[in-house]
């Protein structure tokens, strides 16, 4: 299957994807924010605002608390590295990238878990009331969301008989718009998980610092300057990664194979359209829903978990 030039080519594709994604991720966040601003009749700060914020933060002197330990200082780098690698596993511009062999979907969930554990630990490191509150709530949301995410991924991997994302994408992309009922349930569950894991509105609010409602923001309250910049960038990457997983599972059609130069421009245009649409969808969802109480979150995520298990059961009942 692989001839001599192909590993090098695959490596080039992999590096291109890595660089493109890391540079483009804040743009997606900017796009979502801009859409929200338009929907709320504001003019908004523009799509490039996240880059300006990052630039500003990197320039500032970092201020950390007196009792911050080494764990607090390395966490931003670990979180950023994990999120960056997560995007390397997902087939975004092309399938069959070499790094995807190192980790399958279960490992992908593991990578997210690793980043989350570190950020929760770092939040507890200073020992302020907000930090521990944020860590506790984040772990609460994640222990409910993670099984649901795994169930969604299992449904997809049952259909494609593989837990490798490239194989899943290939299997699903080649069934021309065949509608799997199980995947419909999984898609609903996935949207809920995406909202919860990325600290979006019904569960958390990314633009609030009100103590009663903060989750993610409470955890990173003590970070400043380059550390904060890396964490913000990692959040953008995480959102990008989740939306890419969604695209890979539910709308994989039109993705290019490695070495298919002719298909590449078309694939990239299609990908851009999908991302833009996903951003609009996310903005609409956030504008029309209200933040829920923290103890409603378990019900909300429990629904996602049940939907995902239901999807898996339907897969068994109907077969493929």
């Amino acid at each position: 299957m692989m001839n001599n030039s192909e590993p090098i080519l695959a490596g080039v594709f992999q590096l291109t994807q890595l660089l493109l994604v890391v540079l483009a991720a804040p743009l997606l966040t900017g796009w979502v924010n801009q859409c929200q601003a338009w929907l709320q009749n504001r003019s908004g700060a523009g799509m490039l605002q996240p880059y300006r914020v990052l630039h500003k933060l990197f320039h500032k002197d970092a201020v950390i608390a007196h009792n911050a330990s080494w764990l607090f200082r390395i966490t931003p780098y670990i979180v950023f590295g994990c999120m960056w690698l997560a995007t390397a596993i997902i087939p975004i511009i092309a399938v069959d990238l070499p790094f995807s062999r190192a980790a399958d979907v279960i490992a992908l969930v593991g990578v997210f878990a690793l980043a989350r554990m570190f950020i929760a630990l770092a939040a507890m490191d200073i020992g302020t009331a907000f930090g521990t509150l944020g860590a506790r709530r984040e772990m609460l949301v994640s222990f409910l969301a993670e099984p649901a995410l795994l169930m969604v991924l299992f449904t997809a991997s049952m259909i494609s008989h593989s837990t490798q994302l490239p194989r899943i994408v290939e299997a699903l992309a080649h069934h021309q718009f065949a509608l799997y009922p199980s995947l419909a349930f999984a898609a609903l569950a996935f949207v809920i998980v995406l909202l919860a894991e990325n600290a979006r509105i019904p569960v958390d609010n990314p633009s609030t610092h009100l103590e009663l409602t903060m989750i993610h923001e409470a955890m990173i309250l003590e970070y400043s300057a380059r550390h904060l910049a890396l964490i913000e960038w990692a959040s953008s990457l995480k959102l990008f990664a989740y939306i890419s997983i969604g695209i890979a599972l539910f709308l994989p059609h039109g993705i290019a194979e490695v070495g298919n130069w002719a298909g590449l421009p078309f694939a990239i245009v299609l990908l851009l359209l999908k991302l833009l649409a996903a951003g609009v969808g996310l903005a609409v969802l956030e504008v029309v829903t209200a933040k829920m109480r923290i103890f409603r979150a378990p019900e909300f995520l429990g629904t996602a978990f049940l939907l995902a298990v239901l999807g898996l059961l339907i897969h068994f009942l109907l077969g493929t």
Binding site: D61, H66, T132, F154, M158, F316
Partner: protein
């Protein structure tokens, strides 16, 4: 003095050779096959670290009976070894009982504390109920062939009807389950494990529980010929319930050793689920899949032995430094105990199941086994398996919650008590022990292909199926084939560290690395103090609230007008009240009736004897 054990366990480690040789000794049979040697490696590997630690730890203990303690400690290790080597029921039971008794005396080292005496008694009681069941199980398995048939070889020969085989299996599951802490028989575990000195807790949680897993595997796959599918379903269901139950209770504990004990219950649940899945696959003739789930089970046993021992001895160091087991009085120890905190972080990440450490590998293998289940012919079992996978996922995610709480409350944040300022780091021996176990966690996490290839010998022995070529090459673990799933922790670690280094260099180069220290942000409320952090109970509060029906909660909340507000909250196990107290009441009532017969007068007893004789004569 304890270095001797270290040497001994070093000797035990390299026994990777597969020796299907019998060493017949006239009354006692010993045998070392690949299953035994796998568990011996587990025992040797974990106890080497624990003994290194122990040689530092016991030296500083104020206990007067150090010699006695060492004797019991060695006896405990030897009896565990003999349990693994025994090849007949006598030998097995003698070793098993020695193990139970020596660990009982180790648990009650501080026997002047009433709670510890109580915990020890509960442990002894349940250990013996379990031992009786195991003994009966062996009795069933020897199939009525007379006294000489108590060797394991004779049991392998015996052909039991499905009914008697099921009886033997159920007795074994009950007996070994009591030792392992499977669901209704788990009550002793969170009492006894924390009561013992830390190295002993480490051995009990890390190694002794595995002897029960060994027993179940030995009986089910080696001694019994036939397996039935519902054994698998039963074990799987039991395992899942145990896992979710254990981790849920771990989340609400305030005592660090109790938390770890409950987490052991969770891991035993995962192991039982793996065994159940193996039985199901094996019964339906899916050799490779059975080998996969067996590999996952054995791998997880090994992992759990390493990281749980590491965490338990780590709590020993903390106990040493602070004299405090209650997490609500610790905090900020990362500054006082840098070595312990780094090594414990490895253990915490490993047990939480995040890549690239070892806990993740075995969970990954187990989930892969679940995902391959649609090949089964029985559609009802097919339906059950996704639900089971969901429960595993839930338990794994909750384990991360528990471990963030464990590490965060103990090591991070501000000191909750002033005395913690004088806490000192672990000594050299203690550090060496922890470092050994942490190293094992990392190595098992990074070289899964190597481990899986060796575990294959055990699979071959037990279920005569193998994963075979489990990997595309030495870097990629791919249990079935690379198209299906592959995972490479080494590649992953290199990539993460590469990306991290690159980020650090870029940030420093393009911008700067200036850093200032200042006070933490107080949100406009200057009177912040260490009491405002979450305590262990506070961190567990969401779990208590979500899973409320499972706990028996007593809490006491002050009104806002109290001048001396007092908070009090306690979560208990409902099973204790629903199951154990009725049993103990029933026992008391029965013994009350039995005591009616006893009057201490000789002529009454003579009358009883006489009546019995008459009755016997009538029947015979």
């Amino acid at each position: 003095m304890l270095a001797v054990i270290g040497l001994w366990s070093l000797d035990a480690s390299p026994q990777m050779v597969v020796l299907p040789l019998g060493l017949p000794d006239l009354p006692l049979h010993l045998r070392l096959d690949s299953l035994s040697s796998f568990f011996l490696i587990l025992l040797g590997g974990a106890s080497f670290g624990v003994s290194l630690f122990g040689s530092g730890y016991f030296r500083h203990m104020e206990s007067k009976t150090l010699g006695l303690l060492c004797l019991e400690y060695h006896l405990f290790l030897i009896s565990m070894t003999l349990v693994l080597l025994a090849d007949d029921a006598y030998m097995f039971m003698v070793a098993w009982e020695t193990m139970a008794l020596s660990s009982y005396f180790l648990v009650t080292t501080d026997h002047h504390v009433p709670d510890i005496r109580k915990a020890g008694f509960l442990y002894l009681l349940i250990a013996h109920v379990g031992a009786i069941a195991i003994l009966l199980g062996f009795g069933v398995m020897q199939g009525g062939h007379g006294i000489g048939a108590y060797t394991f070889d004779a049991m392998r020969e015996a052909h039991l009807s499905p009914f008697w085989a099921s009886a033997a299996f159920l007795l074994a599951l009950f007996g070994f389950g009591a030792k392992a802490g499977a669901l209704p028989l788990h009550v002793w575990l969170p009492e006894a494990h924390p009561a013992a000195p830390s190295p002993v807790s480490a051995l009990m949680s890390g190694v002794m529980l595995k002897t029960a897993i060994y027993g179940i595997l030995r009986v089910t796959f080696d001694l019994l010929h036939t397996q039935l599918w519902w054994w698998g379903v039963l074990t799987l269901a039991l395992g899942l319930m145990t896992a979710v139950f254990g981790v849920m209770f771990a989340a609400v504990q305030g005592d660090m050793k109790r938390l770890l004990a409950y987490s052991s219950i969770e891991n035993i649940g995962l192991l039982l689920a793996g065994i159940g899945l193996t039985i199901i696959f094996h019964v339906y003739g899916k050799g490779t899949l059975a080998a996969l789930s067996l590999t996952a089970t054995l791998y997880h046993s090994l992992n759990h032995a390493m990281f749980k021992s590491l965490l338990f001895i780590g709590t020993g160091s903390i106990l040493h430094a602070t004299g405090q087991r209650n997490m609500g009085r610790l905090g900020g120890l990362i500054h006082q105990m840098p070595w312990t905190s780094v090594l414990m972080l490895v253990g915490v990440l490993a047990i939480a199941g995040v890549p690239p450490l070892n806990g993740f590998v075995s969970e990954w293998l187990l989930l892969q086994a679940f995902l391959l289940s649609p090949g089964l012919p029985d559609s009802y079992i097919n339906m059950l398996v996704p639900v089971a996978a969901a429960a595993i996922a839930l338990a794994a995610a909750l384990a991360a919650y528990v471990m963030v709480k464990f590490y965060g409350v103990i090591f991070l944040g501000q000191r909750r008590e002033q005395v913690l300022e004088h806490a000192h780091d672990a000594g050299h021996w203690e550090r060496a022990g922890m470092a050994w176990l942490a190293l094992a966690c990392v190595a098992l996490g990074l070289a899964p292909v190597f481990v899986v290839r060796h575990v294959d010998y055990v699979s071959h022995l037990l279920i005569s199926a193998q994963l075979g070529n489990a990997a595309a090459d030495w870097m990629f673990l791919a249990p079935v084939d690379t198209e299906r799933a592959s995972y490479s922790p080494l590649y992953f670690l290199l990539a993460v560290s590469g990306v991290m280094l690159l980020t650090v260099l870029l940030v420093r180069h393009l911008y700067h690395g200036r850093l200032r220290r200042g006070p933490a942000w107080d949100c406009g409320f200057p009177a912040q103090n260490a009491r405002m952090q979450d305590t262990a109970e506070g961190f567990g509060q969401p779990i208590r609230r979500i899973f409320e029906p499972f706990f028996k909660i007593e809490s006491e909340m002050p009104t806002p007008f109290d001048t001396h507000p007092k908070y009090h909250g306690h979560s208990d196990d409902r099973l204790w009240f629903m199951l154990y107290l009725p049993i103990s009441r029933l026992t008391e009532r029965l013994s009350g009736w039995a005591s009616l017969l006893q009057h201490g007068r000789i002529h009454l007893y003579l009358t009883y004897t006489f009546v019995t004789l008459i009755v016997l004569l009538i029947f015979v």
